[in-house]
Symmetry: C2
Amino acid sequence: MAEQRTELTDLGEFGLIERIEKQFLLQNSTSVKGIGDDAAMISIGDEYLLVTTDMLLEGIHFDLSYVPLQHLGYKAVAVNVSDIAAMNGKPEQITIGLGISNRFSLEAIDALYSGIKAACENYKVDLVGGDTTASSSGLVISITAIGRVTKDKVALRSSAKNNDIICVTGDLGAAYLGLQVLEREKQVFLTNPEMQPDLENYEYLVGRQLKPEARMDIIHELAEKNIIPTSMIDISDGLASELLHLSKSSGVGIKIFEENIPIDNLAYETAIEFKIDPITCALNGGEDYELLFTINPKDHEKLKHHSDIHFIGHIHSNAQQNVMVTKQQTMVPLKAQGWNHLSKL
Amino acid sequence: MAEQRTELTDLGEFGLIERIEKQFLLQNSTSVKGIGDDAAMISIGDEYLLVTTDMLLEGIHFDLSYVPLQHLGYKAVAVNVSDIAAMNGKPEQITIGLGISNRFSLEAIDALYSGIKAACENYKVDLVGGDTTASSSGLVISITAIGRVTKDKVALRSSAKNNDIICVTGDLGAAYLGLQVLEREKQVFLTNPEMQPDLENYEYLVGRQLKPEARMDIIHELAEKNIIPTSMIDISDGLASELLHLSKSSGVGIKIFEENIPIDNLAYETAIEFKIDPITCALNGGEDYELLFTINPKDHEKLKHHSDIHFIGHIHSNAQQNVMVTKQQTMVPLKAQGWNHLSKL
């Protein structure tokens, strides 16, 4: 009898994560929350320790032909800090696992670490350990971030309530369009190395792709205003995908309005230039690292004049109905077409 | 002016770690100990949270032509647990970053996770999170382990004192010889695929290489006997390398006796068969994952009949003199020739 072979792509990334989650039950009383949110929660007195791991692999998550090592180092830290932020926590420590091939000189590694250091300083986190090793193929960066949150202030994916207002920070889709610009200029360069890349007019988009910021500023502002989001997640895989995570985890329905989704002007114009619907970039682009959260309607007053928080819809009770109301006032179902790195296998 | 290029191999793994350590100063009061021990220490009330990261890369740390995925999963957890043990702590949680290529079927990933699960159950740790992604090249496993230790019971590399007795658990060199056997049989197979590998007579050695155990049993026994090691480190890079770490961190000298170094009979015979000095395997082989620790002489009485703890020498005050007394009663300097994965770059 032949051995069975099931392709991973049949299952997908989220399918695989669910499969693993089912197999591993928590045994220690300190393990409060395992797989299934932006970070794990470990009980330490009246706080939760938050732990999250993100791995970036060359050829999958970044292309060194246009990603400067310094930015890569910064981004690797920022995306982990973003996961701690999404739990309403503050990051304090990181560890780094680094696999490097002999293509890299000491100067290159210094550039990578200078980006890591800039992020550590900006987000006030300490590099406390790690593992540095040779890699026989590409560059591998695995970062684990550790943060803290007071127990009654943690924001989960699973606690959005009926009538809560859905908020997003910043603007969406720009990081995805930045990637499209970089890929286009790479192709131009490969075809004709004499050509200078045309990035100047797309600076904002390229910056959003290469050097995203975790929205710790929003976490601090919410704390100052005594607002605890009723649920929160960071937007790494695209707004639609994250909204569906909130719906599934909280057992509630989502209703958002296209006209309220924040899209930067340059992103809008560039989407048109690339012949992509701007709203598709915002819903499914990914890598924005903005925060998506819900608030109790009573907290709306405190945030309504905030220039960088946008109210895009509300929570309702029917978990089967996750919809967007278009500018033409038609309702379309929300579908996740976010990044699925396993599908690139 | 040409850009400067310094090769990483000029610096070496430990040189690179030192360079990084100097650049990153700790800013948060909760970050008690960063780079430079088996695990980082984070203050949580009257305990330290211990955090350690180890990365295993295909083609550098393992060869899937003879490493079963189930054993690899087990080992990836065990080597991290060993780092927590080396701080006299107990592991409680792990996160896993996993990069997998399309060579792997779901069944293969299930085999890997079944080994991870077996280790989690054996060491009583919870898998609480991680990141699963595609890899364009080989298999990548990065594990972060989190443990705890009461503050007054932590065992550092830096606190060995004059006259302390140097102890090692188990036996040394077998894992290295297991690797030599596996590599030899691989070559035999590549030359003549009809040949069956001859592993039966080397089962203990191969097992030490493929499925090492973290010595949590020793940590529990020391606690029962109210012994806090004055210093401790796990033996991943070879006894000599680890002894020199203790010497450097503690500012003390090492004196060990060749005749007291525990070497398994089969390991001894196999070393002779491979024309390697058995003591070289014990000193520089690596991957034993036994514990090397020092105790106050007053605790010797409590351990002297322990069948699996060996007293190999003692600490003296001259940090410049790290020596082994051979069976012929000559003194030879201890030299680290342990694993240096960067040298394989």
